[in-house]
């Protein structure tokens, strides 16, 4: 479908989208029916279901043929045909890729059909049974559409293209027509394309039949030649591993790194660091407070106390001593006042009374 878009086959793309919806939906529901009937999803355990689940088998086969693009009788045949025709005219590489795709599709789908529905049951533990009607009716409807839905878009009378015009507009179709004009070919039925496409599908079916139906070619013998391919494919081309190793691992690493940063740098170093720093500051402050600030306070107290203790020796309570000290003090002060008056002659100290007159 996407391939068709790439080669300007817009109508073909939408057409294939529609037919694909029918047969692929049938295939999924059919697989569901098989899983329901057998209780397993492992193809290796199935086999011989054709007899036990005839409705499922026949509708599944129809859808498979449609997917393989068997011409004229299936819807997928018409839409695949249309895409391949467009690709044939626009891009040969895309065309051959499409043919290769048609071949492999037919091959693996018939491998599936043979392994599941033909041969003998591989696991006798499984007692397969046909699914109830509620599951079978949709299968029949979808299988019917997988055949007949294609007739609206045959290259001989393309009603589908006509009905798409109002939606896509003529512009998109003009691109294709221009491309086709340049290539000097016309759209519509193209015999070589038809033959190549059909042969690719039939070849795929034929090879699958050789291996899994007629057992002419033993799968074990192919092992050495194609073993490496099987291994790569079995591991889905290692794309999941590639994602795991690159994107997912990188994302988890980023997440772990960021969490480490959050936990240790932001929270531990910065936030707790600020907290710890405040604690250190508070300890230093506490030391300063106890030793310097409070030390000054205590020093004042100590000085007062010491002075008090020293002066205590003077405070004896003996009156004679007090009178003696009084007299000595007065004498001392008189001497000082006298000296000041004599030396300075003019006393500028206001608290000393003018004593000059005292001597005159």
């Amino acid at each position: 479908m996407v391939m068709a878009l790439g080669v300007f086959g817009y109508v073909a793309a939408i057409f294939h989208l529609m037919t694909h919806a029918f047969f692929k939906a049938q295939l999924f529901l059919g697989s569901g029916s098989v899983i329901h009937g057998t209780g397993t999803q492992d193809m290796r355990e199935m086999g011989g279901l054709k007899k036990k689940m005839p409705w499922t088998y026949w509708t599944f086969l129809v859808a498979t043929l449609s997917l393989c693009g068997i011409p004229f009788i299936t819807a997928g045949g018409w839409s695949k045909e249309e895409i391949l025709t467009v690709a044939f005219h626009t891009n040969k590489i895309v065309f051959w890729a499409g043919v290769l795709g048609a071949f492999t599709t037919s091959f693996y789908m018939f491998r599936l059909v043979y392994k599941t529905f033909h041969g003998e049951p591989n696991d006798h533990e499984i007692h397969a049974h046909e699914s109830p009607k509620v599951m079978l009716v949709p299968l029949v409807i979808l299988a019917t559409l997988a055949i007949f839905a294609g007739y609206v878009g045959t290259p001989f009378k393309n009603m589908f293209e006509h009905s798409m015009m109002p939606v896509l507009g003529h512009h998109s179709e003009m691109i294709l027509e221009k491309v086709l004009e340049e290539a000097q070919v016309s759209g519509g039925f193209n015999t070589p394309v038809f033959l190549i496409g059909t042969c690719a599908a039939l070849l795929g079916i034929f090879l699958a039949t050789l291996i899994w139906k007629w057992h002419v070619v033993k799968i074990e013998k192919l092992e050495p030649a194609f073993g490496w391919l099987a291994k790569i494919v079995e591991n889905k081309y290692y794309i999941d591993e590639l994602y795991q190793a690159t994107i997912i691992r990188a994302l988890m690493l980023i997440a772990a790194l960021m969490f480490w940063f959050d936990k240790w740098v932001i929270d531990y170093v910065i936030v707790n660091g600020v907290g710890y720093l405040s604690l250190v500051v508070s300890v230093v402050w506490d030391w300063c407070d106890r030793n310097i600030v409070d030390g000054l306070v205590n020093l004042t107290g100590w000085i007062t106390g010491t002075l008090g203790r020293g002066l205590r020796y003077i405070q004896t309570g003996v009156a004679q001593q007090y009178v003696f000290l009084l007299v000595v003090s007065i004498a001392l002060m008189s001497v000082i006042a006298f000296c000041v008056a004599v030396i300075g002659n003019h006393s500028e100290v206001s608290w000393i009374p003018p004593i000059t007159g005292f001597f005159h």
Binding site: L251, A255, A256, M258
Partner: protein
């Protein structure tokens, strides 16, 4: 339905306090009476908040010119402090969110057996604080309630918390205090540069915002940047913005379940509410000048928060870090709304988205924390590697957890998607590179949420949880309303966005006169 009713806001604010006072008279030997009474009391503000929701007149003038249900009586006239309250489109949804989450948290908490009297008392006090912040129109009043809401949460974490509760409680308190003090200083600076109509300075938030409308900022240019960053610090710690967020994982993890719900659901919103109520209208010049700094820091929060959440092994810590991631959109929306690029429409979209994310995160993360509590009570561990395969064992619980996780990762149809879409629309218009980088955060969010679901619900069942009972009625009753509203407002966002539109435009007109 009278939008000029003066008494409705003081009533809703102080009713829980009255209830708390009532609880003091119930003897502590009757815990069931205490629990029933608290839930009954909390129902009254819930009913009033719903009434407020419908009575609020849309399309009217917004802050600062028009607030509804306003009341303004002098409180400390000598300082220019008044008891002023009022609501606009910014606050009505948050008041409803507060009332709802409180009631649901109380319902959820009925299993509490350790000192239930104090617990329920604290919770109602907390509700008063939260209502007060969302209704105050005077800065002193705002600050008082801002601090009041801090105290009960400190005790809720410190008494009913986990093993490291003392550390978490003091870290929460001190960290917020640092922010509060910077904010207080900035408030004082604004106070001294705002003159009331009758002369003298005023703490009126309306007057400050009005002044900013005419002057470009509420303070002169020479100190404007300092005042701006002071206010910013106060709110950024609360949001919390990178790199001020590390109190959050500790507080959330150690808090009791209902405490985490209120913490994530309402207390963080006080920070982003501050952005829209204070920082943007009062410092529009500086906000427009520094919008890119806030945008980049928000972007870091989005991407960094998502990655750190992905690295978590503890379920509750994962949800806690998802808050850092989600609140990043709120601040990003605010920053972009102030950008000089884009149009009025894109800036409005960003700010609407920021408010929507605020509201949505309250609903969804509230529910997620309740859900973490549910499983913790059963398993007594939150270690993600200890779970697995619970879906088959506890389908109701698993369904709720899956629903809320999808809401959190922004699934279309739920509120988170509308919020992120709006924010990203505005961001793209301002700077496409920011929107592109924010998408990394969205993808990683989806990754860690789905991975969490996978580790808890899918895979093989740990035989230890063979007998784990499913969510009971109490738990469903407390979580289901949040889920219903997440879906309802996700499908009909206009039911709540109608509040945001006018408020956003009013703020943006101040930012870009």
């Amino acid at each position: 339905m009278d939008p000029t009713n003066h008494w409705i806001l003081p009533l809703i604010t102080f009713l829980p306090l009255l209830g708390a006072a009532l609880i003091m008279f119930v003897p502590k030997e009757k815990p069931s009476v205490i629990k029933a009474l608290s839930i009954l009391v909390s129902l009254v503000p819930l009913v009033i908040s719903i009434w407020l929701w419908f009575a609020y007149k849309h399309g009217g003038a917004q802050f600062p010119n028009g607030v509804q249900f306003g009341i303004d009586v002098p409180w400390i006239p000598s300082l220019g402090v008044s008891f002023a309250m009022g609501v606009d489109g910014l606050s009505v949804p948050l008041i409803f969110l507060t009332a709802l989450l409180t009631t649901l948290s109380l319902v959820y908490s009925t299993f509490i057996e350790v000192r239930p009297k104090e617990y329920f008392w604290m919770f109602l006090l907390l509700e008063t604080g939260m209502f007060g912040v969302f209704t105050a129109m005077d800065f002193v009043l705002f600050f008082v309630f801002w601090e009041v809401s801090l105290v009960p949460m400190y005790f809720l974490i410190g008494i009913w918390g986990g093993p490291r509760r003392e550390y978490a409680a003091i870290k929460f308190f001190l960290y917020t205090m640092v922010g509060s003090m910077a904010m207080l200083l900035s408030i004082l600076a604004m106070y001294f540069h705002t003159t009331a109509a009758g002369g003298g300075h005023t703490f009126s938030m309306l007057a400050m915002a009005q002044q900013a409308m005419t002057n470009g900022d509420a303070v002169p240019l020479n100190i404007a940047a300092l005042v701006f960053w002071g206010l910013f610090l106060g709110f950024a710690v609360k949001v919390p913005m990178f790199p001020f967020h590390t109190w959050l994982p500790d507080a959330h993890v150690e808090a009791p379940t209902a405490g985490s719900v209120i913490l994530a659901g309402v207390l963080l919103k006080m920070g982003s509410y501050g952005f829209m109520r204070v920082l943007m209208p009062m410092m529009p010049g500086q906000f427009a000048r520094f919008w890119w700094v806030i945008a980049i820091v928000s972007l870091i929060a989005i991407i960094y928060g998502a990655f750190v959440a992905m690295a978590q092994k503890d379920l509750k810590k994962l949800i806690a870090y998802s808050s850092v991631n989600h609140m990043g959109y709120v601040t990003l929306g605010c920053a972009v709304a102030a950008s000089t690029v884009g149009t009025l429409a894109t800036r409005s979209a960003a700010l609407n988205g920021a408010q929507m994310q605020n509201f949505s995160h309250g609903l969804i993360t509230g529910a997620l924390f309740l859900l973490v509590g549910v499983v913790y009570e059963r398993a007594h561990t939150r270690d993600l590697s200890a779970f697995g395969g619970l879906w088959a064992k506890v389908p109701v619980y698993a369904g709720m957890l899956a629903f809320c996780s999808f809401g959190s990762l922004g699934l279309p149809g739920m509120t988170g998607f509308i919020a992120e879409l709006s924010v990203l629309t505005g961001t793209y218009a301002a700077a496409p590179i920011l929107a592109g980088l924010a998408l990394i955060g969205i993808v990683v969010t989806a990754a860690y949420m789905l991975w969490m679901l996978q580790r808890v619900l899918l895979g093989p069942l740990n035989p230890k949880w063979e007998k784990m009972p499913d969510a009971d009625a109490r738990e469903v009753i407390s979580i289901a309303p949040l889920m219903a509203l997440t879906l309802f407002f996700g499908i009909i966002p206009s039911a709540v966005m109608s509040f945001f539109g006018n408020a956003s435009e009013a703020i943006i007109r101040v930012l870009h006169p």
